[in-house]
Every structure is written in C-alpha cells, then in structure tokens.
Amino acid sequence: MKSTKLILITALLVALALVSPFLGWGNDWSILAEFRIPRAVLAFAVGGSLALCGLLLQLILQNSLCEPYILGLPAGGTLGYIAGSVLRIPGLIPGFSVSAFLGTLSFGAIIVRVARRESTSLILLTGVMLNFVGSSVVTLWMTLSDPSQSQAAIRWLFGDLSRSEWGPTITLLFLGLLVLGYFWWRSRDLDALLLGESTARSLGVPVQSLRREVLFATALLLSISVSLAGTIGFVGLMIPHWVRGMVGSLHRRSVPITFLWGGLLLVIADGVSRHLFEPYEIPIGVMTSFIGAPFFIYVLMKRRGGRAA
C-alpha cells in the first residue's frame, strides 16, 4: 500500500514538473529549448542536491532542524566565489569553483566542530553568524563593484535559476547523481547512524570518516549550486522531513527519493514563481523561504513538544 502511494506522489510530481516549463507567456519552441528546458533541468539538479545535502547533514549532525542554508554553508560558498572572482582563480570544470568549494567546506567544518560539543541552539546560532558574514561580504562587494554587478549579488542572496547553461548544469546533475549513488551504496552505515554516534561506532561504522565524506560531498554540491543558482533556502529542511514521514528513515529509500522529490519540487516551485505575478518573477529563494521559514518554526515547536513529553 505504501509503495502505491509513493508511486502516485512521484507520478503527480513528475506530471507537474513536466508542465512547469510551459507556464507563462510565449511558449514557442525556441523559448522552451533555449531557456525553459535548461532552466528546468538546472532547477532539478539544484533541488535534488540541496535536498540530499539536507538529509545527509541532518544525519551527521544528529539534528533534524539542520539544513544547508540555516547552517550558513551557502554563505561560505558565496564568500569563496566572490574571493575567487576577485582573485581570478580559475575553475577546473564548468560550474565548479575551487574557492567556492573551499569556502563551503570550511564553513561546514566549523559547523561540524561546533556540533560535536554544543546544543542545537548553538549550532543554529553559529549558522546565523556565518550567514551574517556571508551577506556582509556580498554587501561590501556590491558597494565596491560597479552597478552592473549588483544584479549578480541579488541573485546570490535570493536565489535565481534564470541564468542556466548546459555545461555547469550537467556537471551538477552528474555529481549529484554520483553522490546519491555513493550514499545509497553506504545506506547500511547511514542507517546505523540513526541510532546515534556511539551505538553506530559499536556496530563498527567508521563514523568519523563517514562524517568527512558527507562534509566533502555536500561542500561539492552546495558550492556548485551556489555558483549556479545562488542561495535557495529550506529545500534541504522540508524535503527530507517530508520524505522521512512518507517512507521512513531507512536510507535505501530515503536517499534516492529525497533527491528525486527535491528536484521535482524545485522545478514546480520555479514554474510557479515565474508565473504567479507575471510579468514579474519572484526570486526562487524568496519563494522557498516564504514556505520554509514557517515550516522550520513548526518543526521546532513539534520537536520541543516531543522532548517535553
């Protein structure tokens, strides 16, 4: 019965995602081929990556409130990206910026370090502070550079899927699927981590190296997502919650479904954000935060209720 439900939801999401590029004015083939379809593929790759990163980060930090955006990881990517373009550090493959990767990785390392000793509230506060660092650097950069660049800055702050190019998009999609495949293969280890760190250790799971692998993989995907589409919040919070609620926490199922649903939902959300106030386009990050922030508060309150009971 559960599988039927799963297939139905996925089919519905696929149908909506397929309709999404056709939303809006001017549906001739050239617009679709040149703008809408690459944009939808980018939205899928970004959505899937963000959702999967959220799932993995929640697991290694043992905290279901964690999410890349809340933890300030994209801020690290933004910081690195700006540093890279100012210093003209070349990327190795399309869409990949070494400095954005290192920025994300170092912010991630700070969070993991804090999480080892401190409580949820301190982890989240650290994330808030990292976000402050990121946004102040973007603002500084906006102030110092010429006005034509401020559009790009807004894009980082609020997320933007409109500047899609095939090369970087395919890179992200490919790496996203690679990360998915790897952690699907390691799903037994991830499952053991559901029992908490010390029990997982006693079952022989190499917790420390697993944590490093997650950190590395999420930094990779997040840095590319940020370079391509800016900061899109809360996808990594909402999708894993929803998927765990539907299919349970076991990773053989939750890893691929999180990526799939995350991708499809961002394609749909992008269609809606383009179409809702046409001809104006709502930045996708504004849209996801609009839904995601209340959702965060809901999860927070539910969690506290659960703890008290």
């Binding site: 697991l59 559901l194 029992l195 908490g196 010390s198 006693s202 926490s249």
Partner: protein, 252 residues
C-alpha cells in the same frame, strides 16, 4: 584460554577537561562469564565499558579482543563478537521498532526471522512493532535495545546501566536472557547500581574507584574480601537473607 579474553592493557582515558578518568588500567574479562562492575559514581565504570567496546578511543594503552585489536575485525566479525548498550539513547529521526531491531546489522533473511520471533517474545510482547522508537518510554526503549542485541546475538555483551528503567517483570526477563546466554557460553560485562540484580547473575566482580582497579575475583570471594566495606564511603553495607528465596541480599 587467554586467547579468547577481552582485555584492557594499561589503558589511560581522559575526560573532556583532560582529567584522567582511567589511569593505567589493566583488566581481562572471560567472555563466557558474567562480570559485574561496581564502584561509586565517577569511578570510571562507563568510560571503562565504552573503551572496552571500542566506542571511545583511549588516550594510551590498548584494547584487545581475543588477542586482536578491534580494528582487525571485519564488520561482520565485529557484530558477532561484541554488543554494546548504554542506559539511554535519543533517536532524532522517525524509526519503526521493526526497523530499529536490525539497523546496522548484517543478517540473512533466514537468520533474521527466528531471532525476531525470539526478541519479540522476550521483550516486546505488548508493543506494536509499527510504532516509532521515539514515542517509547525510557523503559520501553531499554527493552527495544535489549531486543536488538537478541537479533544481533554477539558473543559478548557490554551493558552500561542498560536495565535501569525496566519494570520488575522485564527485569526478570532480562535476567533470564543473560543467564540463558551464559548457559550457551555467551558472557557479559555489566555496570549497574542495582547491585542485587547484578550480584544475582554475576560470576565475577570487578570493583573500581578513582579510575583504578580495586578488586577482581569470583563473586563468593568478593563477598568475604572486605572490599565492599570501603567501596562506597559513608554507606554501611550488610547482607541479609531473603526469607522467601533464601538468597542473600545486599542492604545499605
């Protein structure tokens, strides 16, 4: 004989504040026997069990399982060799009891089914296996955890206050479970402040205080050794005979 022991050799373990919790601690446990660890709060009992289970790395010294280091065990061998339970655990994510029982284990279906039956009959009789572990009470969680070791079925169990929240019925079930394991040659090492429970199943007593070994020996020898008289400063332990069962009980 010595090739099958679980050992700590000259282990020193430090707390977060770099204070020595165990200092140059050497201990060898017989895997076919039940050993109870006793000592006052802060003696280092929990640290000892977590180091023994290879969950916490010691600052110096070595942990030896059956004359190998734990790192030399493959995942599957390790699961068959040692199981470790603590007093409580928090579970952040929704996991059903039936999934919880096999998380992280490597089991073939034909192995799993009978073990599941047994675990259910012993500890989970009244629980719906579809329920989420997060919704269980602390005692029910301890039962689910013990049931998980029944599915894992390791040679040696390390239990750190893992039965502290059980009701009398399930405490009796836990006693029966540990004694049945011992009859099959599968031992355990347990930390418990319920000394009458621990002493009713123990073959060997290990006492420690201040991170140092005080006494290790057979239960009967320990009772007459006088170790207990000074183990818990300020407490006045004495033995009384239970008129119903005739067993000796410890009263403070």
């Amino acid at each position: 004989m010595s090739h099958s022991l679980f050992e700590l050799r000259e282990v020193t373990s430090l707390g977060d504040d770099r204070r020595e919790i165990l200092s140059h601690f050497t201990l060898a446990l017989d895997p076919k026997k039940i050993t109870i660890l006793v000592g006052p709060n802060g003696a280092g009992k929990s640290t000892l069990t977590s180091v023994l289970a290879d969950v916490k790395r010691p600052h110096s010294g070595a942990v030896v399982w059956k004359s190998k280091t734990p790192a030399d065990f493959s995942r599957e061998e390790r699961l068959q060799t040692l199981g470790y339970l603590t007093e409580s655990f928090s579970i952040e994510f929704p996991v059903r009891i039936q999934d919880f029982l096999k998380l992280g284990l490597i089991l073939r279906d034909e192995q799993a089914a009978p073990r599941f039956q047994e675990a259910r009959a012993h500890f989970l009789g009244d629980l719906d296996l579809e329920r989420e572990v997060g919704s269980l009470s602390s005692g029910e969680r301890q039962r689910a955890n013990l049931a998980r070791t029944m599915v894992q079925r390791p040679e040696f169990l390390v239990l750190d206050e893992a039965v502290s929240q059980l009701d009398p019925h399930h405490l009796a079930q836990a006693r029966e479970y540990l004694l049945e394991r011992r009859r099959q040659g599968l031992g355990a090492c347990l930390v418990t402040h319920d000394l009458n429970f621990g002493l009713s199943i123990a073959d060997v007593v290990v006492s420690l205080s201040g991170g140092k070994l005080r006494y290790q020996g057979a239960l009967q020898d320990w009772k007459t050794s006088g170790d207990l008289d000074s183990l818990y400063p300020g407490a006045k332990p004495h033995w009384v005979q239970d008129p119903m069962s005739g067993n000796e009980l410890l009263v403070f």
